[in-house]
Symmetry: C2
Subunit: 436 residues, 2 copies
């Protein structure tokens, strides 16, 4: 049983946070494109960033800031231009963004963290940013989380938001989060942004450790297409405004907080995987029986990332052969005679050999996982135009009915999960047409 409850409010659910999101004119579409999260007081700040050799200016900026100073007051995020591969001018633009906001908030620029998402190689439209920042700060509100969540998305179909509450020393403690991402999502913190707020008091060293572990079990365990971005950033603030005693070492209170932080990150990560470009369903891969958890997660990620598995799920085809092939190439040694594969409640493979199963019922299981999306019958139509479906009206995406692939490879105690989505015609369409 989870030791917390879901509440409303996103990143402004924890005490002492305000947020805002506006249309500054950065996106050619005219949709909201500038977001801000502000803590009333200096908050402990931790971050996990892309491991790519090609990084956006904001990533270098944040890494440096967090190295120099482990607290922050604000996170500024622009959507539209990635400000990656923009050279020294991109660095100057990032610095100027922080300075502009600092002036408007009347704080030191070193208390500001930055994130960008959009087209690689394009500088931030600084004129629009300059005129947008005063408006952005004026829009800050204790109910501004949804506006912020709506201003950081790009090709996302839905916004991603969550808030959870637990009690520490009989006082409520909350963690909220918003995220964006719907493609290029890879185990190593690929193109996604996530911002987490917390009102507990926790030491900076511990907060960074908790965040790194939570990232491994969430954002680093999702995959959409194996591509990693230049801009991936997960930033988490903890401002102590819950007035609970400071947590400075691991123990029952710290474990409770970390579990809730992990749950927030997992919710956001699953929402990103579910919103993978062109996806029609969420896939959860559960692996057991390995020597350790790392190996299990490695197998789970390989299965969740297999284009052939993803295509089969889109075709609602219970193709255990592709699952077995993906497990086999994950780089984790196992005896193929120990391999067991389940799809939902259907046992498809045992002792490395296929079983008889009700193929129609298994296919129906795959179809029910996509009930919030127009499901098409690939057998009944040869018109690929029909197959792509109309996504324009999708407002919500359920996360509670994923396709579950459960794989066991032996008798070890290692377990691991990974999340992904299916591969559809729309993935190709979106990515072939997206302008450089």
């Amino acid at each position: 049983m989870a030791d917390w409850q879901e509440i409303t409010g996103g990143v402004t659910a924890p005490k002492g946070y305000r947020a805002a999101g506006i249309t500054a004119g950065l996106k050619p579409s005219g949709l909201p494109d500038l977001a801000l999260i502000v803590s009333d007081v200096e908050a402990i700040a931790a971050g996990v960033f892309t491991t790519s050799q090609v990084k956006a200016a904001c990533v270098d900026y944040c890494r440096q800031r967090l190295q120099d100073k482990t607290s922050a007051r604000a996170i500024l995020c622009n959507a539209g231009q990635a400000n990656a591969a923009t050279g020294i001018q991109g660095v100057r633009d990032a610095e100027e963004s922080a300075e502009l906001l600092a002036k408007e908030l009347n704080i030191s620029p070193e208390l500001i963290l930055l994130a960008s998402t959009g087209v690689i190689g394009q500088r931030i439209k600084m004129d629009a940013l300059r005129s947008g920042i005063p408006k952005l700060v004026a829009s800050l509100s204790e109910t501004g989380s949804d506006a912020a969540a709506g201003s950081i998305i790009t090709t996302d179909l839905v916004t991603k938001s969550i808030a959870l509450e637990t009690t520490l020393h009989d006082r409520p403690v909350r963690i909220g989060g918003i995220a964006k991402g719907s493609g290029m999502i890879h185990p190593n913190m690929a193109t996604m942004l996530a911002f987490v707020t917390c009102d507990a008091a926790v030491s900076s060293h511990l907060w960074q450790q908790m965040l790194s572990r939570a990232a491994d079990k969430s954002f680093n365990s999702i995959t959409v297409d194996g591509d990693t971005s230049t801009n991936d950033s997960l930033i988490a603030l903890a401002n102590g405004q819950s007035r609970t005693p400071a947590i400075t070492e691991m123990g029952a209170e710290a474990e409770k907080l970390e579990a809730m932080l992990t749950a927030v990150c997992q919710h956001l990560a699953k929402a990103i995987a579910r919103d993978g470009e062109g996806a029609t369903c969420l896939i959860e891969v559960q692996v057991t029986g390995t020597h350790d958890d790392l190996a299990a997660r490695q197998i789970a990620k390989t299965i969740a990332g297999s284009s052939l598995v993803k295509s089969a799920i889109f075709g609602r085809d219970p193709n255990w052969g592709r699952i077995a092939a993906a497990a086999g190439r994950a780089g984790v040694p196992f005896e193929q005679d120990n391999l067991q594969i389940k799809l939902g409640d259907f046992l498809l493979l045992e002792n490395g050999q296929p079983l008889q199963f009700d193929r129609a019922a298994a296919s129906a299981y795959l179809k029910q996982a996509a009930i919030d999306y127009p499901v098409v019958d690939l057998v009944a139509t040869n018109n690929s135009n029909d197959l792509s479906g109309d996504r324009s009206n999708i407002k919500t995406q359920r996360l509670d009915n994923p396709v579950i692939i459960a794989v066991s490879v032996g008798n070890g105690h290692g377990t691991g999960k990974a999340w992904g989505c299916d591969l559809s015609y729309d993935y190709v369409k979106i990515n072939a047409e997206y302008t450089t």
Copy 2:
């Protein structure tokens, strides 16, 4: 300048080989599905096989055979059923296949090597095989290479075949090869079969070394979708019938032979990449400036395997940002300020920063690479049914006009190449509809 010339004849071009391909009734489609290559005399045999933990019975069979005995007379290949994840009965079927053929050829079963391709989890249709083998042996011919090449393919649109000739000690020496593969193709010998014949005399140890190195520079440097198969096999025979002196150690003659072997493997590998499921063009990625060749090949493979790069090429979009992002996440450290990217003759990025370039001309360059395929204008149409194109009449695929992506990451002396193809609607269609 290459030290050889292309000749006709495929695997029967070298002296002392016969081949055959027939319809035995293994494939539901009624297309040719059983192939045989026979050397008149015992040939030195080498092999490279899948590294997957889940392997077909034929892979285990060949590994064991080549461990016990480094020579062979024949390669038997069935298409239709992969005979993978078929347990002990699959092993018995493989052994019976070899015994049936040995009896018909009047040789020892241990001189026979096996390969299978098709649906994972399905046993070979042994009744069809039993009645097919006498017919297959009766069809053996010195001009049978094309029939064999046509009997090992599954979703391939075209057959893959090559033969080259050089001279050693003033005598002609030939290497021929046939291959199959059009999906699930990954750097680590993924689902592909390739059979190579050679009439040089070479020691078994050296022949295996040459083949392993050639595989790294060819089949292990292509990627279609990152999936690796249960059945990948590259088998090469050298029967000495050219009557040239035996090559037993590295030297000028050995290098000449290895270079030609590598060229044969590269031709077949490129043909497989070009025939990737749904592909409209071949992509060649050339990487320079790394510390060593391995690092360069690693970056090249990551770019060639990026779904986002592949989608952009399908959309004829000169999207250098995705190429930079893929290079950055390859796991090879470099300074992003040293990054240079060229697309054909168009320099897109230098010193890590984008340059002005003629976007229309660069897009036109991408379009010319697909002149043997119906190219569609993604901007002009919103009908994804049109975009898929009609592939039914494709008979040949040009390999001489790939899209060339050239990337430099520094001043090191390492170089490497990889080959892939673009990602189209048809990839999803083929893989969503292919029956388990």
